[in-house]
């Protein structure tokens, strides 16, 4: 009885299941989907290979390797933070390791206070370096740092506050481009000099080290190492996912609009300085989290982390990977750092030259970084395949 006006309404139509969020991501943003999948696999595989596979077996992962991968993940998170502001908003920060180091110091302070009487001087409250300096009581900013939740709050708060104040001053005065980069560089250098001083109360040039345990777990235990590793992986995944959500929101589109035509964005009615400030502060907090996860894995934090060269290196990772794509930042951070690990082992003197050359090559020939090569390759493969198909058919 159906007529043309009622198009097959009662027919039990085959309804495909709605796509899962994972399927949607794989379809719309394949690189992100691939990255998060790989990350999940690594997160599950590494603990098995480290703990369950017996030592001496081919597949056994040494503690050194686990920590190394954990370190790379911290760097990747830092690179994502830098890419978020540089790749998407055009703010080239040459001082982002300052925020990384501040997060690291906050974690380091907590770990120092956990040492307790096990230090060389056995003082229940004062860390060794304070006893050594003949200090009688804890400086005010060390109070509360023995409480884990408070210390973790500081991991976010210290970099966030610095970025907030700095950003408020810089963006309100419309400092942009090279000038902003130079100021960020000066900022991290100033912090480097300040943290070198013993009177600052952060352990001077030795920094904070000799950590014993975290939340009561011995840092030297394989299980602790694995938990730290997994926490880092989760932080990287969550950080990546949040950044992805940010850049895909309308906020993200406004931010990219600011990157491309700042005054136009203003004349449309966007308060550019607010947008920059929020993004910059968020990015700094992310860098702080990366630093906080880095410190217990490497076992030390010292003022060297503030060195301007470190910040420049991060920018190179992002440039090599491909700025303006979050997965590019991750790829770049891991590739360059892996190269660094191999190179500094084989040819320690050559590394800085290689790094410099890499930056020049990428700037000149790969403006979209390594990940920018992929679409090109795909395109070439496709044309090749088409040509072959045509050749066969004729």
């Amino acid at each position: 009885m159906s007529t043309a006006a009622e198009p097959a309404a009662p027919r039990p139509a085959f309804k495909p299941a709605p796509p899962t969020p994972y399927q949607v991501m794989m379809r719309e943003d394949r690189p992100s989907g691939v990255f998060l999948t790989v990350l999940a696999i690594v997160t599950l595989l590494v603990p098995i290979l480290h703990l369950a596979v017996p030592e001496g077996h081919v597949l056994h992962l040494s503690g050194y390797t686990v920590t190394l991968i954990g370190k790379y993940m911290c760097y990747a998170l830092l690179a994502v933070a830098v890419d978020l502001i540089w790749g998407y908003c055009g703010i080239l920060s040459l001082g982002h390791t300052a925020f990384f180091a501040l997060g690291g110091y906050a974690m380091g302070m907590y770990l120092m206070r956990q040492i307790g009487t096990r230090g060389v001087y056995g003082d229940p409250v004062l860390p060794d370096f304070m006893v050594f300096l003949n200090w009688k009581e804890l400086p005010w900013f060390w109070h509360g740092m023995d409480v884990f939740p408070f210390a973790m709050l500081m991991v976010l708060f210290a970099p966030g506050l610095l970025a907030g104040v700095f950003g408020w001053l810089a963006f309100r005065s419309r400092v942009t481009g090279v000038y902003l980069s130079i100021i960020t560089q000066a900022l991290t250098y100033a912090l480097l000099l300040a943290f070198f001083r013993n009177e600052m109360g952060f352990g001077g040039n030795n920094g904070l080290t000799d950590f014993k345990d975290l939340l009561g777990f011995d840092l030297k235990h394989p299980e602790t190492r694995i938990v730290l590793f997994m926490a880092t992986a989760v932080a990287l995944g969550a950080g990546y996912f949040t950044c992805r959500a940010i850049v895909r929101s309308r906020f993200g589109r406004v931010v990219q609009a600011i990157r491309d035509a700042e005054s136009r964005a203003r004349f449309i009615g966007y308060r550019v300085e607010n947008y920059k400030l929020w993004l910059f502060t968020f990015s700094a907090m992310l860098a702080g989290v990366a630093g906080a996860l880095y410190v217990p894995q490497v076992g030390i934090i010292n003022p060297g982390e503030f060195a301007p060269i470190n910040s420049i290196e991060v920018v190179i990772w992002v440039a090599v990977g491909g700025r303006g794509t979050l997965y590019g930042a991750v790829v770049g951070a891991i590739m360059v750092n892996y190269a660094k690990t191999v190179m500094t082992d084989a040819l320690p003197d050559a590394w800085l030259y290689v790094l410099g050359a890499l930056f020049v090559v990428v700037t000149l020939f790969l403006p979209r970084g390594v990940v920018g090569l992929l679409p090109d390759l795909k395109h070439k493969l496709q044309t090749l395949r088409q040509r072959r198909a045509r050749a066969i058919s004729t």
Partner: protein
């Protein structure tokens, strides 16, 4: 031209209150008071750059719904005037009021844009990495605070509005094209489209037909004429044919102040104008 001045003075009593409302308001045109039938007051504005007077005691009044053309030789201060109105440049002296209550000299560029003044630049500036659709989406009127934008979703009405504007500016087939890949004329149109999305009470349009083909110029003229009435439109243009085709009132700027004002014929026959434009064709 004396009457609007005194009205402007009277309007200033509401200034502080108007500003409070403006801060709190989130819609595109909060508390625009047009009781004296003037939307824009520019009074005695002087701007100097290193001793050079770009604007010299400039006074100008625009009525609601008016289509005003501003012409003048290079360096007459046309663009500087737009900079002052939109908050980019602060004048040394003078006052600029939007309606009776909004003192534009106390507001920044985003606030002025939110209050209802849209601007099209001389060189078309669109967001080149965004699609045509996204450019319009970004320009859309509404609350533009950080938190709103983080969770903003397009409503069906907003989608319809964007499609309407795409239709109007003839870029329907380029909806998802990268704005940077458009031709010069299409970019001009897209920028006009962005102005439409902003839905401002006052549009400032700087040389809209520069680099356009004659057909495109004609369509632009039609569009601007159709906008007048609902919006006030101020157009700066060099193309005299274009000015003739759209203008009801023409203001001639010269050396930073108003030289003449009237219909296009009055202005073109004004001896002062002829003197300034001596040697320029068709004037």
């Amino acid at each position: 031209m004396n009457a609007p001045t005194s009205m402007g003075m009277a309007g200033r009593f509401g200034g502080a209150f108007g500003r409070v409302l403006q801060r709190r308001g989130s819609s595109s045109a909060p508390s625009l008071d047009l009781t004296h039938n003037i939307i824009l007051y520019v009074e005695g504005v002087t701007v100097s750059f290193d001793g050079f007077r770009a604007l010299n005691d400039l006074s100008l009044y625009v009525a609601p719904g008016e289509l005003r053309c501003i012409i003048g030789p290079n360096g007459a201060g046309k663009t500087t005037m737009m900079d002052v109105i939109t908050g980019k440049t602060r004048p040394d002296t003078g006052s600029v009021w939007f309606g009776q209550t909004l003192d534009l000299l106390t507001l920044g560029e985003p606030e002025i844009a939110q209050a209802g003044i849209g601007r099209k630049f001389q060189k078309p500036t669109v967001f080149s990495e965004h699609s045509v659709f996204e450019n319009l989406e970004l320009a859309m009127a509404g609350d533009k605070s950080v938190w709103k934008m983080l969770f903003a979703r397009l409503t069906p009405e907003q989608l319809t509005r964007i499609d309407e504007v795409l239709e109007t500016i003839g870029l329907k087939d380029h909806r998802s094209a990268r704005a940077g890949s458009l031709s010069h004329g299409q970019k001009q149109w897209l920028e006009i489209g962005m102005l439409l999305m902003q839905d401002p009470a006052l549009l400032l349009v700087d040389e809209p037909v520069a680099g356009m083909t004659p057909q495109e110029t004609e369509r632009t003229a039609e569009l601007l004429t159709s906008l007048a009435g609902k919006h006030s439109v101020v157009v700066v243009e060099h193309d005299m044919n274009f000015v003739r085709s759209i203008a009801r009132t023409v203001t001639v700027l010269h050396q930073g102040s108003v030289l003449a004002e009237g219909t296009i014929d009055e202005v073109q026959n004004d001896p002062k104008v002829i003197e300034v434009y001596l040697g320029e064709p068709r004037c």
